[in-house]
């Protein structure tokens, strides 16, 4: 995404609110807990499921339902690495670079991935297909190196293996 466009796009996305069915699901999440503030993380997950990220408008809607300020919600969102505050690629590739994965070659994988996708860690490809990130230990060190792509773990990686996986993702 290039510089001039970015502001406009972010503004547009910020104004995106949640749909009826997600709002209903948030109500159900609230009802599951002894206190409604506990439903904040589940609500943000639901928002991200619908939008691919947690828009400012969604955060506002959630704040109202839970009974906290939008600033409080924003503070929570920014604390957790899995919540996105802006649109990300359709496939978020989270490569683990912590000790055990590093011992098993995650550095090489990272440079190969950066070369293949033509982006650096932290960036999204122009076509919006991939976001590449480095993350800390994902609890899969016995099958290192590994990465998570959206919800799925991919373990015992070689570049050939991940190359095939990425080529298979639209």
């Amino acid at each position: 995404m290039n510089g001039e466009l970015k502001v406009g796009i972010e503004f547009e996305h910020a104004a995106q609110g949640l749909g009826e069915s997600t709002l209903k699901e948030i109500d159900r999440a609230i009802a599951r807990y002894p206190r409604k503030e506990s439903a904040l993380l589940p609500a943000l997950w639901l928002a991200q499921q619908e939008q691919g990220f947690c828009s400012l408008e969604a955060q506002k809607q959630i704040a109202e339902k839970i009974g906290v300020s939008p600033a409080f919600v924003a503070g929570v969102v920014s604390f957790y690495t899995m919540f996105h505050t802006r649109p990300v690629g359709r496939h978020v590739v989270d490569l683990c670079t912590t000790v055990s994965c590093w011992l098993r070659g995650s550095d090489d994988l990272l440079s190969q991935l950066e070369r293949k996708l033509g982006i650096k860690a932290g960036e999204t490809t122009r076509d919006g297909r991939f976001t590449l990130r480095t993350v800390e230990c994902l609890g899969s060190c016995g099958t290192a190196p590994m990465c998570q792509i959206n919800e799925d773990y991919h373990e015992d990686l070689t570049f050939k293996k991940i190359d095939t996986i990425l080529d298979g993702l639209k």
Partner: protein, 429 residues
């Protein structure tokens, strides 16, 4: 020393249908729950105490003793929190248990909740474990349908509910009070202790928090008796234990053995030795990256138990055992360990927020060839300034391993400083 001669926690993990409740019940699941519901609650707590079971989450605190801290006569709701945040680098055992045998886990959680008179169980699972989350969610629904969860469990008059709560990416939420803040819908900031969770936990109510693996031991303690459990391992270091082997080892993975299995047996016999047999063993991190690193010679005669590792200046921690061969630059390894802490500090305490980042940047600079005389002394003194001075022990968990790397591999650090490059990289080039 009682060796473990059979599989216990892992005995059903190879059955593909084990996550299904009918298959699990066919193999004995929930039988101990039914028995427990006919027992005196305090008798269960007493059995767990006598078994010597110590927490598998990191600190090794005696489990039964912790349960007795729950106030007996408080009118407030009481909670059991299950810590399934599993984020300590090098650790991947709880994930295996919940993905492969969720009903064994639930049975352990339920018996424990009954023993401590809890009315609600929160299972806090790290956000990345999507498969584990979905497996547990399905298991909970199945157990509810069969009457193991809900009102009047198996006709006993005991009501229990289970809430599965998904985190969203933050190592610090594994710390017990940060986890509770996160459960309450806040940033995961650790709380000052005291008050401890038993008196002031989730929503300020009496709460006990345990690791998944800890609670999985409970049904077996009931089934076979505390004496059987206490006979595995050695005094105060008892029971079966899951060890996570990773790094430069031929067969990485989770291995079940007695607490105190000698490192060389774990690594050599079970793990198959080094990945590249032409290499030599150089160093081992025995208990997750918060544990002090051990040199190869320190590993020669090393029972992997709580008290031995503590006495030798490291810890069993989460039993995440990371193996490094002699191709590893220890300054670089130290940098990798510290990168994690620099990234994960919650930022509440200045010594931790500033210190974790500073020690990482300093080691990275030394690794890159920019080290100066005096750096190591400053590094150690900054580490000392982080230890024992913060709200939670995260700062210690960053500073102690850093100090251990510098102390045990000082020559390598010095070589980086005097040569202004990594000698191993220079040697290769």
């Amino acid at each position: 020393m009682g060796a473990l001669t059979e599989k216990v926690l892992t005995r059903n993990l190879h059955h593909a249908d084990q996550p299904d409740i009918d298959a699990a019940v066919g193999r004995g699941a929930y039988r101990q729950l039914a028995r427990a519901l006919t027992m005196e609650r305090d008798a269960i707590v007493e059995e767990v105490k006598k078994s010597g079971l110590r927490g598998r989450g990191g600190a090794g605190f005696p489990c039964g003793l912790k349960w007795t801290f729950m106030p007996k006569d408080s009118p407030k709701p009481r909670y059991l929190v299950v810590n399934c945040d599993e984020s300590e680098p090098g650790t991947f055992k709880d994930r295996l248990l919940i993905e492969r045998d969720p009903h064994m886990c639930l049975e352990g959680f339920l018996i424990s909740a009954y023993a401590m008179r809890a009315s609600l169980i929160f299972i806090y699972i790290r956000g990345e474990f999507v498969l584990g989350h979905n497996t547990l969610a399905r298991a909970i629904e199945q157990a509810r349908a069969k009457g193991y969860i809900g009102g009047n469990v198996l006709g006993s008059g005991w009501d229990i509910d289970v809430i599965l709560h998904r985190g969203a990416g933050a190592y610090i939420c594994g710390e017990e009070t940060a986890l509770m803040e996160s459960l309450e819908g806040k940033r995961g900031y650790p709380r000052l202790k005291p008050p401890f969770p038993a008196s002031y936990g989730v929503y300020g109510n009496p709460t006990t928090i345990n690791n998944v693996e800890t609670l999985c031991c409970v049904p077996f303690i009931l089934e076979r008796g505390s004496a059987w459990f206490a006979g595995i391992g050695r005094e105060k270091n008892t029971g079966p234990k899951l060890y996570c082997l990773s790094g430069h080892v031929k067969r990485p993975g989770v291995y079940e053995a007695e607490v105190g299995i000698p490192f060389m047996r774990l690594f050599g016999e079970l793990g198959g030795g080094l990945l590249d047999p032409k290499r030599k063993l150089k160093a081992v991190i025995p208990g997750g990256s918060s544990a002090a690193v051990m040199t190869a010679s320190e590993c020669d005669d090393l029972p992997m138990d709580f008290d031995t590792l503590m006495a030798r200046g490291s810890m069993l921690g989460s039993a995440g055992v990371m193996v490094m061969d002699d191709s590893v630059c220890m300054v670089r390894a130290c940098e990798r360990v510290l990168k994690f802490y620099a990234h994960e500090s919650c930022g509440q305490c200045t010594p931790c927020r500033v210190g974790a980042d500073w020690i990482h940047r300093t080691v990275a600079r030394i690794e890159a060839g920019g080290g100066k005389q005096g750096d190591l002394e400053t590094l150690v003194s900054v580490c000392d300034g982080m230890i024992g001075k913060t709200i939670c022990v995260f700062a210690d968990a960053a500073a102690l391993p850093a100090k251990s790397f510098v102390a045990k591999f000082r020559d390598e650090f010095n070589d980086h400083i005097s040569l202004k490059t990594c000698p191993m990289r220079a040697g290769k080039a």
